[in-house]
């Protein structure tokens, strides 16, 4: 063996299906306003971006750190309300309120982690859910500050930077796209860092990881705080996107739906998270004729994916791509086709 390839965490190396799909998605995303104009469809795409940001953040906690953060929707909601309250009640501009939202969410993540991370498996899930419910109740009941069930508005769009204004739907969309890429970059760097390596060791074999010196609780706490902060960042954009905020952004099922979207799309992958976000936004739109049917559809899709494709839609697509690639290579180069390590042998 002449040289060792670099570690394969993070984005797929080389021109695998992951890289090609990512670039195609990115190109389509940049050109979307040109193609779609600035109507309802662009509005939906903007919502997809906000959800994608949140799913990237959630994937750090769920996919990377293995935390069943069903209460993670609380951080998105807290970020949304912090920017909403600061903008509406105190007249703060978005760019000043957004960092506060990040800080508040990081602090909330730290608090949640300190309370829940000592607990094993299922207990963490319940405690995280209960905390999220508690946040929702407080926000609904604290009417002076949050407007209670009546809601809070109007949150203005972010002020322009220099000559660039974000009032136009397409400009706001591009701002969201830039923010999404920024979140992606943070997540990607974290996965490539020593923290990412530690997380991998915890996922693979926690007993061995701690025997080698990995502090499992501290590693998870750090990731939970970063993930909460990023969720707050996404929440800030959700605030200005919605304009008018109601306690429904803090409903306890937000976190559940997000987790479902992530699992359906495919965890530990940016493309999977985007697929999940799109699924989450578009299914209710497609099933408009009956609002009751969309949860049934979500539930069925989730159970089917969990049973048949534990690595999500994107995981299956990737396996299909690899399978096709091996087949073509085998056809071209005879028996020299060799499976890369970690590659699946065949499609089930």
């Amino acid at each position: 063996m002449s040289d060792l390839p670099p570690a394969r965490n993070g984005l797929a190396s080389g021109w695998g299906p992951g890289r090609i799909a990512s670039l195609a998605v990115l190109l389509a995303a940049i050109l979307a306003p040109v193609v779609l104009g600035s109507g309802y469809q662009l509005d939906l795409l903007s919502l997809v971006l906000i959800n994608a940001m949140f799913l990237f953040a959630l994937d750090l906690a769920y996919g990377q750190a293995g935390l069943a953060a069903v209460g993670h929707g609380a951080f998105l909601g807290i970020g949304t309300y912090v920017v909403g309250i600061l903008a509406v009640k105190a007249g703060w501009p978005f760019w000043a309120a957004m960092p506060i939202a990040i800080l508040v969410c990081a602090a909330a993540g730290l608090l949640m982690g300190l309370i829940t991370l000592r607990l094993a498996g299922h207990y963490f899930v319940i405690a995280s859910l209960a905390l999220a419910i508690a946040v929702g109740l407080v926000v609904s009941a604290w009417q002076d500050l949050t407007g209670g069930a009546l809601g809070l508005g109007l949150v203005p769009r972010p002020a322009g930077v220099g000559p660039v204004s974000f009032e136009a739907p397409s400009a706001f969309y591009w701002l969201l796209l830039a923010a999404t890429l920024l979140v992606m970059l943070v997540c990607w760097s974290l996965r490539r860092s020593n923290v990412g390596t530690r997380l991998r060791s915890i996922r693979e074999n926690p007993r061995l990881a701690s025997a080698l010196g990995v502090n499992i609780v501290l590693t998870r706490l750090l990731v939970l705080v970063i993930s909460a902060a990023l969720a707050g960042f996404a929440g800030a954009f959700q605030s200005t996107y919605l304009g008018f905020i109601t306690p429904s952004v803090l409903a306890s099922n937000v976190g559940f739906y997000a987790l479902m979207a992530l699992i359906i799309g495919g965890q530990r992958s940016f493309v999977g998270a985007v697929i999940g976000a799109a699924f989450f936004v578009l299914v209710p739109v497609l099933l408009q004729f009956s609002s009751a049917l969309s949860p049934v559809f979500f539930g069925l899709a989730l159970v089917v994916v969990i049973l048949l494709a534990p690595d999500g839609v994107w995981g299956r697509l990737r396996a299909l791509g690899r399978w096709v690639a091996t087949r073509t290579r085998a056809a071209r180069g005879g028996s020299s086709a060799r499976l890369e390590p970690g590659q699946e042998r065949s499609l089930p």
């Binding site: 063996m1 040289d3 060792l4 390839p5 670099p6 570690a7 974290l190 490539r192 860092s193 020593n194 923290v195 990412g196 390596t197 530690r198 991998r200 060791s201 693979e204 074999n205 007993r207 061995l208 990881a209 701690s210 025997a211 080698l212 010196g213 990995v214 502090n215 499992i216 750090l222 890369e340 390590p341 970690g342």
Partner: protein
């Protein structure tokens, strides 16, 4: 000589069972220290107490003079305590290369140790030297779970050292290995000791223990029977009784499954250690 690891009156009960009963011992730096005894003697529990996987009920454990018995597993590991497990434990789903990378990263400290890159300090060259030293040079990109048992055992040893172990606990390292591999393993463990690492080893293969260890501690029912160099242990009447009962050495039928020495090792006992 520096004391690498010291235990004083360490106790552990499980319900009514005294798994480890007031054990005291001292292991010097650079020593290969063996622990033998029938099944249920408390050997693995003793390792678990030292590594922190099981907590002590009373008594003190010192690593290079530092009290560690209240520390969590990962802190003891960071202070230089490494261990392997009876069923060889690896990150089976990732490659050999990544296993070593994880082991090396896990001991890094400070902001860079968290947010820096795993490849920042680990050069391709160092990696190759490392793999060659453990005879895993062409296995770097194989999944750890696909390796043979002996290869897995070697990788596990390499990982403990990459994680910075100064005192190493080896639990049944020869388990499942064939005779020629046991011999190579012995050489590897000696090599580790020659790097200045202190080694504690539990193994059922009596011949291996007699040839490898500088000193041997004998345990039964959680308590220490005696400690001494292999010649003394082989000659000790209590130990012979423990292993062979009152019957003379002839007619030994117990094997490692039932707790006695492998019958194939019986000649070692008669002849005494060869080293």
């Amino acid at each position: 000589m520096t004391e690498a690891l010291t235990l004083r009156d360490v106790d552990r009960r499980f319900g009514g069972l005294k798994a480890v009963d007031s054990v005291s011992m001292t292991v010097s730096e650079g020593e290969i220290f063996g622990i033998i005894g029938p099944n249920g003697a408390g050997k693995t529990t003793l390792f678990n107490l030292i590594s922190g996987n099981v907590s002590t009920m009373s008594g003190a454990i010192e690593l290079y003079g530092r009290r560690i018995e209240r520390m969590p597993v990962h802190r003891r590991a960071r202070l230089g305590l490494g261990r392997t497990f009876q069923t060889s434990q690896l990150f089976a789903g990732v490659t050999v290369h990544e296993n070593l990378e994880i082991a090396e990263v896990s001991s890094r400290r400070g902001v860079g140790g968290w947010l820096g890159s795993p490849t920042a300090r680990r050069t391709v060259e160092a990696e190759r030297v490392d793999l060659e030293a453990w005879d895993l040079a062409d296995k770097g990109e194989r999944l750890a779970g696909e390796l043979t048992l002996f290869e897995q055992q070697r990788l596990a040893l390499a990982m403990t050292l990459a994680a910075g172990a100064r005192v190493l606990l080896l639990d049944e390292p020869s388990g499942g290995l064939v005779e020629s591999e046991v011999h190579q393993l012995m050489e590897l463990i000696r090599g580790i000791r020659d790097r200045g690492v202190t080694v504690l080893v539990i193994d059922h293969k009596m011949r291996l223990m007699m040839q490898l260890c500088d000193r041997i501690m004998v345990m039964a029912l959680g308590a220490v029977i005696t400690t001494g160099d292999p010649t003394e242990i082989a000659a000790d009447a209590r130990v012979r009784e423990l292993y062979f009962g009152r019957a003379p050495v002839r007619g030994v039928e117990r094997n490692e499954r039932t707790g006695g020495p492998d019958p194939a090792d019986a000649h070692t006992w008669r002849a005494g250690p060869t080293s």
